[in-house]
């Protein structure tokens, strides 16, 4: 069992792939905003990629584990135990009674996986929380202090990540309307940056309404005000604004780590480069070596109750 002592501004149960099978009924895909980091956390904790885990926005969460478990934290938050930083992107064995803080770090969202995953019911084929419509995950809502979460049966495997994540410009490819090169250059993340999308401040583009159409992850919509929005996990199934570009699959998780005021560069690439980047992101995700030995050898178990 995990006890939520403090939940922070927005912590929810998510899965990497979300709920993709119900778009015909208008249900957004949702799931982890930075799915790549979510998959990595799960692999390190010995889980399947799509196991349910915690997405912790901007830190501020304190958790108590009342049973021994393995955890792994990835993404943009820091994790401390008793004021000491835990190693990032490495499985850590915790003794019963351990208390962790997930704190503000270098990105918007952290992913905390526990060996065995978080036990919640499937709703429409997924354990992810649809925060806007209020179903799935833990009681269909963001976590609050006092919540208690069950942990599933763990595999016993754990790993340490030895890969590297791209940190260059964010790459874009064509959408159905116009030329992605019109978006190349420097942008600043606007005030509106959430799980639905991230608005970019910079030069005004040509925006307009179009007949509502399906929106893939990473679509860059330009409404009539000319300010582009990169669409993320909780985007609606359909959208009615011009889409001149899409952020490539390999880079969309990095968009979900941006915070208001962050600077970014967009650069147009070919479809072949986009697909190659995706293959490389998958290779980096797989760069995991097993962590051997018991929890005590990992050096953290029980030392900070």
């Amino acid at each position: 069992m995990i006890e939520v002592i403090e939940a922070g501004p927005l912590t929810s149960v998510q899965t990497a792939s979300g709920r993709p099978a119900w778009r015909h009924a208008g249900v957004p895909v949702g799931g982890a905003a930075d799915a790549w980091s979510a998959r990595l956390a799960n692999r390190l904790a010995g889980n399947a990629d799509d196991a349910s885990l915690l997405e912790i926005t901007l830190g501020g969460a304190r958790l108590r584990f009342d049973e021994a478990t393995v955890i792994a934290v990835t993404g943009g938050t820091r994790v401390t135990m008793g004021g000491i930083d835990l190693p990032a992107a490495t499985a850590v064995a915790l003794r019963a009674g351990s208390q962790l803080s997930v704190e503000y770090g270098d990105g918007a969202r952290g992913y905390l996986a526990v060996g065995g995953g978080i036990e919640v019911d499937d709703v429409l084929g997924s354990r992810s929380t649809d925060l806007r419509s209020g179903f799935g995950g833990h009681e269909g809502r963001a976590l609050r202090s006092g919540d208690r979460l069950e942990i599933g049966p763990a595999s016993g495997r754990s790993g340490r990540w030895t890969g590297k994540r791209d940190d260059g410009p964010l790459r874009i490819v064509p959408g159905p309307h116009g030329d992605p090169r019109d978006l190349e250059g420097e942008w600043i993340v606007g005030v509106e940056a959430d799980r639905i999308g991230v608005r970019l401040d910079g030069p005004r583009l040509t925006g307009r309404e179009v007949p509502s159409m399906g929106l893939p992850l990473g679509a860059v919509q330009v409404p009539p005000d000319g300010r582009p929005i990169v669409m993320l996990a909780d985007r609606p199934v359909t959208g009615g604004y011009r889409v001149p570009a899409c952020v490539i699959g390999a880079d969309i998780g990095r968009v979900a780590q941006l915070r208001t005021g962050d600077e970014l560069t967009l650069v147009a690439v070919s479809l072949e480069e986009a697909r190659q980047a995706m293959r490389r992101a998958e290779e980096e995700l797989a760069a995991i070596e097993p962590v051997e030995g018991s929890g005590d050898e990992l050096g953290w178990a029980g030392s900070h109750r």
Binding site: P20, A25, G26, S133, G249
Partner: protein
């Protein structure tokens, strides 16, 4: 016309929603490498497996689109009880003024429209209903409401729809229904599906 949409997506312009729905059915049956098929108002988004050659996929979609054009969805007949105006329909008077009609005439035209579900989007269970009487064409609100209540029956442009939950929204609200449009624990979760024929029925005041 088939346009690129991201590194693994294609947007097939079908011209209308019924052809998009028919093509969606054909693609689901014939293209196992289509990992997502999302119909819209005049188009179909097809997301393909990352290893699929997009030019080849576009050719297969063109062939399917040629064959799927004539197919029609069976659909069901669904009646939705509505109470028009009052606190549940705050924009009824504005709509009447914009259209140069009385409130009673707006209600008559809404009740008399032969409506069909074009597609679902925007939010879980939100069905875009086409076939709204031409006398009821109103633009969306210039500034959308931050909260439109669940059950609000609203119109915009050539369409009408029912808000399934409390949501931000720019459509003009003329009435209210107590029907639950979406419940994730119900089977099927959405009350309406593409192709359904919808009739509104006046209740209350």
């Amino acid at each position: 016309m088939i346009r690129p949409f991201g590194e693994s997506g294609l947007l097939v312009e079908t011209g209308d929603a019924h052809r998009a729905q028919a093509l969606a059915i054909a693609v689901r049956g014939a293209m196992p490498d289509a990992v997502a098929v999302v119909p819209g108002l005049e188009s179909l988004l097809v997301e393909l497996d990352a290893s699929t050659d997009l030019e080849g996929a576009a050719r297969r979609l063109e062939q399917l689109a040629a064959g799927a054009a004539a197919a029609a969805l069976a659909g069901r007949e669904i009646t939705i009880p509505v109470s028009y105006g009052g606190t549940g329909g705050p924009d009824l008077a504005d709509v009447a003024e914009t259209c140069g009609l009385s409130e009673a005439e707006v209600i008559e035209l809404h009740l008399g429209s032969e409506l069909r579900v074009l597609f679902l989007g925007f939010a879980p269970g939100f069905a875009y209903l086409g076939g709204l009487d031409e006398g009821l064409r109103v633009p969306r609100l210039a500034t959308p409401r931050t909260r439109t209540l669940a059950g609000s029956v609203a119109i915009a442009d050539s369409m009408t729809g029912i808000y399934p939950a409390d949501l931000p929204g720019g459509w003009r609200i003329i009435g209210h229904t107590d029907l639950v449009m979406f419940n994730p624990h119900r089977d099927p979760p959405a009350l309406l599906a593409p192709g359904d024929r919808v009739r509104f029925e006046r209740v209350g005041s």
